[in-house]
């Protein structure tokens, strides 16, 4: 019987591990082609000489020394995710504000066939022409290490002039990767979080408590800093009260037993 329980428990453990691993793979969308933020976080980017759409030549390091950067990789003939990504980023940046003043958005072409003129036209087609945005090509020898450093990849699609590649936005502060957003959809709240990260502010992984949060122990008014005690506070005292009752009851019960015996 004992051996049976042991085998059963062992099989249950193995089953739970396998089920959990499968669930995790599904939840994480375990696609090896998706860039992983954890693998590139805090990496120092290699410098690269850039030629911007207006023809000016400057280095990537000079740009990040001036202001934090949002780095995007695209190419001018892109018929896929590039424009949706840039449009999402443009709209979100307009809603949040601060582009050009607090940070720059740098769009680097990974297609060696792109010229500054084509990139300028690409920017116009997407309705992007204001301050704070920069479209640039990079010298080929510097491009590959840069792409590798941020975990970006691309591959030609046979029979077309297109490339397969992920949609990603890389937050860069002082030359280091501090955030990687993967996917063409960028919500305003997500961009705010990336920008907070660029400033070095803490970013919460969960929403702040609101007034309708169940079991609140304190109410806090951020305007005045005033604190009020709420009903959830009772739950903090409950263990002590219940424990004291349990101790009293245990000793009283044993005392009664002793008295009965004597």
């Amino acid at each position: 019987m004992g051996r049976g329980i042991g085998w059963g428990a062992g099989l249950l453990c193995v089953g739970l591990t396998i089920a959990s691993a499968q669930e995790r793979r599904q939840a994480a969308g375990a696609d090896p082609l998706m860039p992983q933020e954890g693998k590139v976080l805090y990496r120092l980017l290699p410098d690269a000489r850039l030629q911007s759409a207006d023809g000016a030549v400057q280095t990537l390091a000079a740009l990040w020394r001036e202001k934090p950067l949002l780095l995007v990789f695209a190419f001018s003939r892109c018929a896929g995710v590039c424009s949706p990504l840039l449009l999402q980023l443009r709209d979100a940046a307009e809603r949040v504000g601060g582009v050009g003043r607090k940070y720059r958005i740098l769009v680097v072409s990974f297609d060696s066939a792109d010229t500054p003129e084509q990139l300028a036209a690409f920017a116009r087609r997407n309705g992007i022409g204001r301050d704070g945005w920069l479209f640039a090509t990079a010298e080929p020898s510097a491009l590959a290490p840069l792409l590798e450093a941020v975990g970006f990849w691309y591959s030609p699609v046979a029979g077309t002039d297109q490339y397969d590649h992920p949609a990603m936005v890389v937050g860069v502060r002082n030359g280091r990767v501090v955030r990687v957003h993967v996917g063409a959809l960028i919500r305003t709240a997500e961009l705010r979080a990336i920008l907070r990260e660029l400033r070095g502010d803490p970013v919460l992984a969960y929403p702040l408590p609101t007034a309708d949060l169940p079991f609140r122990c304190y109410g806090y008014n951020p305007e005045t800093g005033a604190l009020t005690l709420e009903w959830g506070m009772l739950l903090l005292f409950a263990p002590t009260l219940a424990g004291v009752v349990a101790v009293w009851w245990t000793f009283a019960r044993q005392r009664r037993r002793t008295e009965q015996c004597t």
């Binding site: 428990a9 739970l16 969308g29 903090l236 424990g243």
Partner: protein, 499 residues
């Protein structure tokens, strides 16, 4: 009283239930402590930058951190609790079936935690809510469910333990007597009470309350689990530390209770209960449940007065108990013909480690200090001091005491000195690197240090050298105690054969 402190300990050998339990947990500790400790070695080597190529996914660092922390805190709590039971058993009568039931449930909980290691469950040892529910793909919902089940099973197991301890004490002593209040009246105290009973009573009461806090915490997490809506994270954080901080403190107190009972066997000097001891331990009972507020200094939505309570409760809970224990220990050995063995050496140095770690802890619980050192490696520095060089030494001393007493076989002086030198130099060198890192602002819980904290990498590398000394010391300890254990088993078989 001398009879109480020295002679009655012999009754233990006639109590097979407690003896078997002590042997089982002693053995479990000797197996699990090195294994869980190796996860810590892995973490320090990872921070040193030596394993990042071999294990590129830092997820394993955090999974190791979670199992290392949860596993060792649980193991130390359980093993020290058994040491306390063993020490108090000459004075009270246990119903051992409850203790075995708890042991079985603890085993189930531990297995579930180990399973979760392979599931990549990695929210850290105090699983700060809502992190277990926000894994960002790092672990699955099933892993969180397994974890909640493990916490529930361990909670039930340990509540049973604490209740049985309390019941056994209550069957013999009224509450006031068990807490030593008769010593606070004028005149001769009557009846006298062994210090271990006083400590056991304080531990049992505080333990039950802390575990009830875990029940409320678990209930709130289950509300989240089944409703999908968040509950107040600050309330859950309070409950986690109410339970977690108290449990860690209790693990140390268990060891101190054992010390009060066992050290006199080596010094020949009884450890008597007196007014300072009673005051100190009643203060512990009064304040240990509120000291945890020092974990919430950074939570601006927590009223400031609770932080102040936390600071002064931290002083009140640690200083008096540490002072009476330290002075008591020193008076036990100072100019006394102490029988120095591996067991008594480990007990003595464990007490010193508890006191040294306690000083660092008191510093860290000071609000002005904490604002500088919060979430730096100072925090693991202080808790590794009183855990590794404190309570772990005492538990290792407990196991050595058990096997030496039953085998009647000691170790050579050279071997004892070698083991102690390796453990002390290695242990204090290891925690010193944590202290230096913390003092220089190196953050904790980083698998890979950013360039701003490069010093952390250098100090982690030096720390691994000291860890190697600890590993060597533990290996020598295992060989030495293993031989004594074998001799004890052979003796037991021989005596049963001759019967």
């Amino acid at each position: 009283m001398t009879e109480l402190a020295l002679g009655r300990q012999r009754e233990l050998a006639e109590s097979p239930g407690i003896r078997h339990l002590a042997w089982l947990w002693g053995g479990l500790f000797l197996v699990l402590f090195p294994l869980l400790g190796l996860l810590g070695v892995f973490m320090r080597m990872y921070q040193a930058g030596w394993l990042q190529e071999l294990v590129p996914n830092p997820q394993w660092f955090y999974a190791s951190m979670t199992l290392h922390g949860l596993g060792l805190v649980g193991l130390i709590y359980a093993a020290s609790f058994v040491a306390l039971l063993w020490a108090v058993s000459p004075h009270v009568q246990f119903q051992t079936r409850w203790l075995w039931l708890s042991t079985g449930l603890t085993a189930v909980g531990v297995v579930l935690l180990v399973v979760n290691f392979f599931n990549g469950f990695a929210p850290g040892w105090y699983f700060l809510y809502p992190l277990p529910f926000v894994p960002s793909g790092a672990w699955s919902g099933t892993a969180t469910d397994i974890f909640l089940t493990a916490v529930a099973v361990l909670g039930v197991a340990w509540v049973i333990w604490e209740l049985e301890l309390l019941r056994a004490i209550a069957a013999r002593y009224p509450l006031k007597v068990a807490l030593g209040w008769q010593y606070l009246r004028k005149g001769e105290p009557s009846p006298e009470i062994p210090p271990v009973v006083l400590v056991a009573t304080v531990c049992a009461i505080a333990g039950i309350i802390a575990l009830l806090a875990a029940v409320v915490m678990l209930a709130l997490m289950l509300v989240h689990r089944f409703s999908g809506s968040m509950v107040d994270p600050l309330l859950v954080k309070n409950l986690i530390f109410f339970f977690g901080h108290t449990l860690v403190n209790l693990a140390m107190y268990h060891g101190i209770g054992f010390l009060y009972s066992a050290l006199p066997k080596y010094s020949g000097q009884p450890w008597k209960t007196g007014v300072p001891l009673v005051v100190a331990w009643n203060l512990v009972l009064l304040l240990v449940l509120t000291a945890y507020f020092h974990h919430l200094y950074m939570d601006f939505a927590q009223p400031t007065w609770l932080s102040v309570v936390g600071q002064f409760a931290s002083y009140g809970v640690s200083i008096p108990a540490a002072v009476v224990t330290l002075l008591g220990t020193l008076s036990q050995v100072y100019r006394r013909p102490v029988r120095w063995t591996l067991a008594s050496s480990l007990m003595f140095w464990g007490t010193m480690g508890w006191a040294i770690g306690g000083v660092a802890a008191v510093l860290d619980s000071t609000i002005a200090f904490n604002f500088r050192f919060h979430n730096t490696l100072w925090v693991p520095a202080h808790f590794h001091t009183y855990l590794l060089a404190g309570i772990v030494f005492i538990v290792l001393g407990f196991v050595a005491h058990l096997v030496q007493e039953l085998s009647g076989r000691g170790e050579s002086t050279g071997m004892r000195r070698a083991i102690m030198a390796l453990l002390l130099v290695g242990g204090y060198g290891f925690v010193l690197m944590f202290y230096l890192s913390g003092a220089n602002g190196v953050p904790r819980r980083y698998a890979v240090y950013p360039p701003d904290a490069e010093l952390g990498v250098q100090l982690a590398r030096i720390a691994t050298f000291f860890i190697a000394l600890v590993v060597l010391g533990v290996l020598l300890y295992l060989v030495t105690v293993g031989k004594q254990w074998g001799a004890a088993l052979a003796g037991a078989q021989g005596s049963s054969a001759s019967d």
